[in-house]
Subunit: 232 residues, 2 copies
DNA sequence: CAGTATCCATTTCGATACTG
DNA sequence: CAGTATCGAAATGGATACTG
């Protein structure tokens, strides 16, 4: 049996939403991913078979529309799907308060950099090309160096190889430290003060960087403890 | 692997909440059930083994406290668990709007009557003993007749056998009709008007009954269509 | 009352490779 | 790019009976 056998609206909702990965796929659609391989980058540990299956299920029950778009296809939330936005946000706000233990296996550098690169505040970055470098001191060679290439006011690319352009600032930290900063568990200031993060670049750029990166949507949401600059 | 391998707060939350039955157990705790067998009545199709396992899991991650209470034990939500209340309500409000298809297997008379009996508005029921009878015209003999015995201002019992007291009102309908009324999908008025519900009793009591039964917490929440008195 | 024990059918999912 | 095919390991959980 797959359902709960209850007429309760909460039960009927969870029949749909408690399937593994489903909420994360909806999160990605809410975040603005519309194509299969974009969605995959937001759920990198989900197999393409399963993503495909979940998308078909969501279409069947009316939360997602699949739109043929030339040779590609495009996925859009329906009104029913879009009405999940406040619930998904509430789940994140709750998680940031109560599910604070991050195992090593949760620290995925690909996901972190994917998130960072799509949340550059283009309005505050200078015109022309700006290249940021991130170095994680504690992970394997092929995931330890990243470059974020910001072109003018509109385009941001992510590279895991040196694109060869001049770098204006290099941030060096453990992967965990940068994850904590991204999540809003640790402030830029505290990380710089205790030495867990170092920035190389002109003082102007070092001061500007925290404005260029917008951090997680939940970074500013209220925590249980007033203002712990939690390290772990 | 049981987690998602993501530091995203939504993912960390769903690692906990997307396990089958978990949200329904939390719903029951929020609804005021605190003992094992009370919880079971709210999730009648869950095996006791699994309920026990889920409760242990919820205790382990800090959403529930188990309190030895003499020979019994008592389950209470922690502050973290209680903060799920608005999310659980939002899931129900969403479900009532978008997950409106009820299969025959969702129409559980035990759950319906359990819900009805614990939502009697004691403030509006007269003093002394008041007995209500429900008859479902389309279900097997052992689940078709129910008596709700209200004693004074404080106690409500549910019987699936005739307790022998004088009945002040008998409601007769299909099981589906009463479920729809309970959910707020169909109004008392519309059900009476179209004959899908009949009430036997004095006109005073027939008029009072809709005030005695409080209906689902989601009965009054906004629907997608302005005011359809949906029948199916 | 408040669970536990056992057992097995079913489902689920991850890994990997492949296709139009 | 956008998926599908296949397969086997693992987990899930439903049914039933039993216990202090």
């Amino acid at each position: 049996m797959t359902g709960y056998g209850q007429f309760c609206p909460i039960a009927k909702t969870m029949e749909v939403l408690d399937e593994r990965w489903t909420i994360l796929v909806i999160r990605e659609l809410l975040a603005g991913s519309h194509h299969f391989n974009d969605l995959r980058r937001g759920v990198p540990k989900m197999s393409p078979t399963l993503l495909s299956k979940r998308l078909r299920g969501l279409v069947r029950i009316g939360l997602v529309m699949r739109i043929g778009d030339g040779t590609r296809s495009r996925y859009e939330l329906t009104p029913a799907g879009r009405e999940l936005a406040p619930i998904v946000m509430a789940l994140g706000n709750w998680g940031v308060r109560w599910m604070t233990q991050l195992g090593e296996e949760d620290l995925d550098p690909h996901l972190l950099m994917w998130d960072v690169h799509r949340n550059i505040d283009l309005a505050t970055v200078p015109d022309g090309r700006t290249v940021l470098e991130f170095h994680f001191s504690d992970v394997g060679a092929h995931t330890s160096n990243w470059w974020v290439v910001i072109n003018g006011q509109h385009e941001v690319d992510l590279c895991d190889f040196d694109p060869g352009y001049e770098v204006v600032v290099t941030a060096t930290s453990t992967l965990r430290t940068m994850v904590l900063i991204w999540r809003g568990d640790l402030s830029w200031r505290a990380a710089l003060n205790n030495g867990s993060l170092t920035l190389e670049g002109s003082s102007h750029v070092r001061n500007a960087l925290p404005h260029w990166l917008k951090l997680s949507p939940f970074a500013a949401s209220p925590r249980v403890l007033p203002q712990a600059d939690a390290a772990r």
